[in-house]
Amino acid sequence: MNDETKFMLKRLAFYTFIFTVIAWIIIPIIISTLYGFALPKDYYDPKKVIPTSFTTQYVKTLLFTLGALDGIKNSIIVALITIVISFTLGIPAGYAVAKFIFPGKDTIKLSIVALRMFPIPVMAIPLVVLYIRLNLIDTLLGVALAHTAMALPFVVLITSSIFAGVSTELEEAGMVFGLTRLGSFFRITLPLALPGLAAAAMFTFVMSWNEVFVASILTLSHRTLPAQILSIMAGASGGAAPDYYKFAAAFIMILPAITFIFFARKYLVTMWGITLK
């Protein structure tokens, strides 16, 4: 075998590998979407690997009769409240971490990371007792408060790295020309940090949108989409809903996620330090 064939074979192996990986990610999404709209007779026909006749009936039933639409609404409300609270609390903290040197800074940062690692079930289960007492049980605000606790450490760390990226000289220049520290923050730092903050907000949205444990435990009649789907799809023993509703549910849940990542992919990835054009 000469060098050229060896090189070609290596390339072929590489592209086969890449192709397999992409197929491994994409095919389940395509299949579950197709099944979400397939007629049960196609789906149960062992000869038909790919369904050919479609209906929107099950997606519609799930949305309008089984409460998925309300779930979507609730999810959006919870995510928006979570963003508002976690940014109100998180931006000042992130700014402080980015722009000041003070005793105990590293310890505080480390504690914030440690609090992020705190398991969700431990938070959610005892919160039920408190929420009953505070009349927060089964409210969207209650879920949002818990989601804020989940998202806040992340918001602090991300905003601090965004603020650290905004040049200090610009702020100082602003203050030389008569702005107060607060003024220079609002007139200079914030506008420059805005794209990064928007990306962080999107990520917060996704975190809240996907969370199911807290939402399932703290609500009964005002459920977010994942909690609503979970309660329809799985009883305690699993597998309560007919298959075609499961497929329709998968479609409803991933559609916003896929749309979202299509728009936000640039930010999602750069936030973790990767450059992707």
Binding site: P28, K48, I125, E211, W272
Partner: protein, 284 residues
Amino acid sequence: MRVKSSYLPYFLILPAFAYLLFFVGYPLVQALYIAFTQNGQFSLATVRKTFADPYFWEALKYTLALAGVIVPTQVGLAIILALAVNRAFKGKDLTIYALTIPLTISDVAAGLIWYSMLSPSGFLNKLLLNIGLIHQPIYFFGYQYRHMEFLAIVLAELWRATSIVFVIILAGLQMISNEYLEAAEVFGADYWTRLRKIVIPLLKPSIQSALIIRTLFAMQIFGIVWILAGRDIPILAGEGFYRLTELKEYDVASIYALVIAGLSILLGALYIKFMKAEYLEVRR
């Protein structure tokens, strides 16, 4: 403007910190109280009741087993993928995009998607039947097929959460300066030597953080298991959820919560020992 000696930063951090402390501290105290008292008296009755339940030990076993299978596979897979993608080739951007899609897919949705792949009349079974590789469907779901359910959970979780590990490791790879690699190449090191002596050692912080983040989250695995197996495969978070929502046993549920916390703190101690806090920040 880096200002020393001022109370301002503390005032800026305080609200966030207090909020977090409340949402971690209060539940922890509350859980300890509910778990260890009865009628206002200290009591180990709930602990004994929980430990006497075979489901508890099953849940502990399965949670650790799932983490033990999923996390190392995920990290290994992510390293291979990141190494493969971290070079120039046609379709690189598309590949990275595809690999990050599962980042936004929730565990519940991933469970449902993999149900459509693996169910008796799902895609995989129909495909294999029609090619003629199998003559009757492979059953993945149902109590009598618990081993297959375990496999289904592993497949779904690998599909869903490998992307986050991939992203962390790819970010780490991109921070390795090309100069080291070029120098090694000049001195005649081949690809494997470079990988073993330079890339992997420099990648260690990323690998460690990915490893521990995933291990901690594995302790709380819930949605994917609940969708695919229900209580056939008991897990700690699922049992806590079941005890609380179905049986209204707040005390037992609190013990489950505390066990998850204990495991996480144990692993978190490892995390603080082996890593610095900077990994979540963007470095350019």
